[in-house]
């Protein structure tokens, strides 16, 4: 099932949580049949069209969908493989649920703020300097009136390093689409390679992001792929190279 098929108006979603929430709540959508990659692509296309796309955001979105994917992927895993998953499904679910609901709460609050502001439309305040004679009476600040310890304390705060982030419970791996695109382009230089080769020794997240990178390259017309059987290896070909072969053949 593609995103287009379920007729989602992407304009109404302010963020990925919103979109996820809507997807999950749509009774007629079977999450198991939903092509998440398609959701990703549509959403990114949408962001791009609005001029808001940056790879940071894109990566974050992948991470979120990965949580859903995690649930979905249990379908395809044998129970042996499932032992290898590093988070409890219940934990993943509760985490995802909590975050979706939280995002929804603040979206509600945001709508309230927009209403408040529009209710105040046309209300202006006076913003004039104090009359000169009142300004003149402003007193000189007093000697020694400021405490120098605030300076040392400020610097102390600025010296704090952000914590090393524990990603175990979400299973987030820092791998960006741009990195994977660069990696695939490197391999594409040879004209043809297999997906297994591209993700050899990679963790699951890297594999997932690589799939997305591949989709991106496909969209940009740089690569084509072929998969002869379900779960079989994917063979990836550079577009130009393929064209050249055709001409040659």
């Amino acid at each position: 099932m593609s995103l287009a098929a379920i007729e989602l108006d992407l304009d109404v979603f302010s963020g990925p949580f919103d979109l996820l929430l809507a997807l999950v709540l749509r009774e007629e959508i079977d999450l198991l049949e939903l092509e998440l990659a398609d959701v990703v692509l549509s959403y990114l296309d949408h962001l791009e069209a609005r001029g808001e796309l940056d790879l940071e955001t894109a990566t974050e979105f992948i991470v979120l969908l990965a949580a859903l994917l995690e649930l979905k992927s249990r379908l395809m895993l044998s129970s042996d493989e499932e032992q290898m998953l590093d988070i409890e499904p219940e934990q993943a679910l509760e985490e995802l649920l909590a975050r979706m609901l939280d995002a929804r709460r603040y979206r509600g609050a945001a709508e309230h703020l927009i209403e408040l502001l529009s209710g105040e439309q046309g209300v202006r305040f006076r913003c004039a300097p104090l009359p000169a004679h009142l300004r003149r009476t402003e007193l000189e600040p007093q000697e020694g009136s400021l405490d120098p310890t605030i300076l040392a304390r400020s610097v102390g705060q600025l010296l704090r390093m952000p914590p090393v982030i524990n990603l175990r419970h979400i299973g987030v791996v820092r791998v960006t689409i741009s990195e994977r695109i660069a990696h695939l382009r490197g391999l594409l230089a040879r004209g043809r390679f297999s997906f297994d080769e591209a993700v050899r020794d990679a963790d699951r997240m890297t594999v997932a992001v690589t799939v997305f990178a591949l989709l991106e390259l496909y969209k940009r017309g740089e690569a084509d792929w072929e998969q002869n059987e379900a779960f079989g290896d994917i063979s990836i070909t550079a577009r130009e190279a393929q064209g050249a072969e055709r001409i040659a053949g």
Binding site: L71, M100, F125
Partner: protein, 213 residues
Amino acid sequence: MSEAPDPAPAPAEDPPELELILEALLFISSDPLNLQELAEATETDAMTVAGALQELAKRHGTGRSGIHLRHLAGGYTFASDPIAEEASRRLFSRPRAAALSPAQAETLAIVAYLQPVSRPEITRIRGVNADSAVATLLDRGLIDQTGRSQFGAALYRTSGLFLKLFGLTSLEDLPKIAKWDPTPEEQSQLRERLLRAGDARAGVNPPGAEEEG
């Protein structure tokens, strides 16, 4: 604007001096003034000031005056009647506060309810990078930086200008965030649908069925 104008209205009595002084002070000050400040300036007490302000509010009510007395951001301040907005736009090049984008509104809501709050926390809740929204809100003076978290991330809070522009006396005027809680039914429905996606492995396990080896 008035419902029923008196055919032969009598002129109102001149207001007492305290009321005139309060009116002048509120006019001069660009920030809202609270009862305490007004009482100290007029060398009287907060109760007396409150009484005089009540009278002042009548003279500066809708339809009576183009300048309204408002109770905003913890104090009293004058604001224009929105009736003048069209003329203001023609006269002043500076536009009134622009509307908020959805991203800005969401970020502002998170700061308003969770303050002090850091950018990483905002990002976590929104699910998307909040940097540009935070920068815009800082620029527009709707939020301020207030110290740093224990890990050095800048913490943000809403400003007095935020309360003023949104017509709020204090943050207490905002509804409780629980107002946007899903009902227990919605919540369990959501959990179920998520569970179904996770549990329906191989499509064989109906709820309550035994786990397959």
